[in-house]
Symmetry: C2
Amino acid sequence: MADTRNAFYAQSGGVTAVINATACGVIETARAHGDRIGTVYAGRNGIIGALTEDLIDTSQESAAAIALLRTTPAGAFGSCRHKLKSLDANRREYERLIEVFQAHGIGYFFYNGGGDSADTCFKVSQLSASMGYPLQAIHVPKTVDNDLPITDCCPGFGSVAKYVAVSALEASFDVRSMAKTSTKVFVLEVMGRHAGWIAAAGGLIEDQGIPVVVLFPEIAFDEAKFLARVGALVKEHGFCTVIVSEGCHHPDGTFLAEQGTKDAFGHAQLGGAAPVVAGMVKQGLGYKFHWAVADYLQRAARHIASATDVKQAYEVGAAAVKLALEGHNAVMPTIERLGDAPYAYRIGTAPLSEVANREKFMPRDFISADGFGITEQCRRYLRPLIQGEDYPQYRDGMPVFATLRNVAVARKLPAFELR
Amino acid sequence: MADTRNAFYAQSGGVTAVINATACGVIETARAHGDRIGTVYAGRNGIIGALTEDLIDTSQESAAAIALLRTTPAGAFGSCRHKLKSLDANRREYERLIEVFQAHGIGYFFYNGGGDSADTCFKVSQLSASMGYPLQAIHVPKTVDNDLPITDCCPGFGSVAKYVAVSALEASFDVRSMAKTSTKVFVLEVMGRHAGWIAAAGGLIEDQGIPVVVLFPEIAFDEAKFLARVGALVKEHGFCTVIVSEGCHHPDGTFLAEQGTKDAFGHAQLGGAAPVVAGMVKQGLGYKFHWAVADYLQRAARHIASATDVKQAYEVGAAAVKLALEGHNAVMPTIERLGDAPYAYRIGTAPLSEVANREKFMPRDFISADGFGITEQCRRYLRPLIQGEDYPQYRDGMPVFATLRNVAVARKLPAFELR
């Protein structure tokens, strides 16, 4: 058993409806390779758990509990928004990670997150190499924003896309019912600070005959043009639905709505674009409106997860472990699309040097010429990602989700203060 | 066939995830009694369709299309917010209804709505009697607000309750994942202008170990007490979820948030209590927050409908037709609860004189002593109503909903101008 090393798994950043399916894929696959991988430790609250040596012993969880992660939304071990700065600016934290890994015999680092965590994962792999510590650092993709490069899509996105498309369709049936004497415009605000992938999913309801206007962060907002478009659709159809991305902004770069607070990564905390847009419709066109802000509901909505997304989330977790066992380092499993219809894909690999710190925006040819909708190319891209339903079990009307025991591992090192 | 009369069915007020299941129950049951009921006409956009003689011939719809209504949200024939005033104030509109009914051989009036439409239905039955026109007016209950008297619950409520409970649970798992370094308080705004039934459903997540504060319209808002409660829960659990009813108000009666606009019934149009509450949490306690406003998403959410609710919605529609055939008039089918666990009920009947214009609020003993949660009695009431899942079919990742042909019936009367 000389080549048996332990593994460390952490969830990073905003959680999703399927990040636990990835955790399930990592842990089940690691358990299936007990000859090579000892214990899978998880970071309590993400990378902070590693820095503070607050490790969870996942071997204390039953096979049934781990299996239930596949249908449990959010982060079962806790996540965090703690970005490690550059190696020069915060070498102390990177070295601490290596110390903790060393103290617990950890030779595999699986970091499950978006662009920021890909960057951290890459730096940890570089530092461990320069320190001569044998570590295989594998980044596992996760982000509802769908903005990681190279991979065709990001686990977490398909489910939020399905939630947005289904919810927007249902609400559009509602406003269509009411439009004669009451609400004529329904505005739904969705996530997406910089990239409009989630908003684009709302555009799929046009296939079902719903007049819809999508406001992307990639297209500077033009109020006059927007009101003209809404007015024309209401005149023609009697109603319309507006999908507004939280990242929608004026030509000068200011967001339609900012709460004025910033998160740990220095990103402005957004919210409230929907009431702003609805107010413009009321003032400019006089139409009665309703608006909704889906916020966490959209990314936590495991009850309407995409079966394709759940499957891929599990597969990238399983693939990460296999990549590590094959000797890979500083890579990320990707989803490589082989065909749109019928949809086909395989799990590929990308070097983290090409993943870290690059955001993938909507291609301009995925957005219609007028900037308010999606093109057939975009539809071909999106449709497979929302395919299939993967319902959780229910008991007494409520979904059955896993709440793990999350047993702590005894500390071996002095305390470490986060700064 | 001398005793064959036609029927008129109309949807009223805010639509629900299951009002079309009621329409399905009415139409399928009427079709099964073709010896007594001729054609079922539906009002295009509710009662306005009757006033303007804009009738839909539902016999033009296939059996499959009508069956699909069972899983289709919102109002398939259109609804409206048009309240008929008192007989004295607007006798003209009531008489017009009778004229239209007479012109089209309509002897059965099925009006599917909440308290306002029960009142209208009652007045129409009174007027037809005084005019000597043979009409059986049956009100069919529908309201997400669950505020009709006599009936144990209202079709539409169970599904919105399930949506709110499931969504709040999922979002609570999300905030619990993030709370260590980021969001500690998640605020979800739900519907309910005067009655806190929908908000109460959010209280069910306490059964799943989630710290939750519910803000009811029945309890005057006390900011200091609220912040103390949230602060205590976050200290104990690290996070908490707040469910705020749109009707939550200050002791002086002003709502936490009003948009300043009013609907056709003179009700203030609400929205935006969640950001107000979230701002208080930030200012008073310094916690990072997220908020969501579910708005139409909650009442249109057919994808997560309660099987119990769908069944009851269908049954009250079927019962309405049977009541009419049995010779009843000015009544409403009700749901009579026979037991909580196991849940048992039967369809009963209530005279409209006792239904019209009465709102059923949450009993004080359904709300916890501190005003921020629900009691075991309330749980026993709510639990059966969210039981069971009743999923729509999906095609290519999207739910398959009915869009009817809605063929117009030729007009026989002079035009009528709505005032």
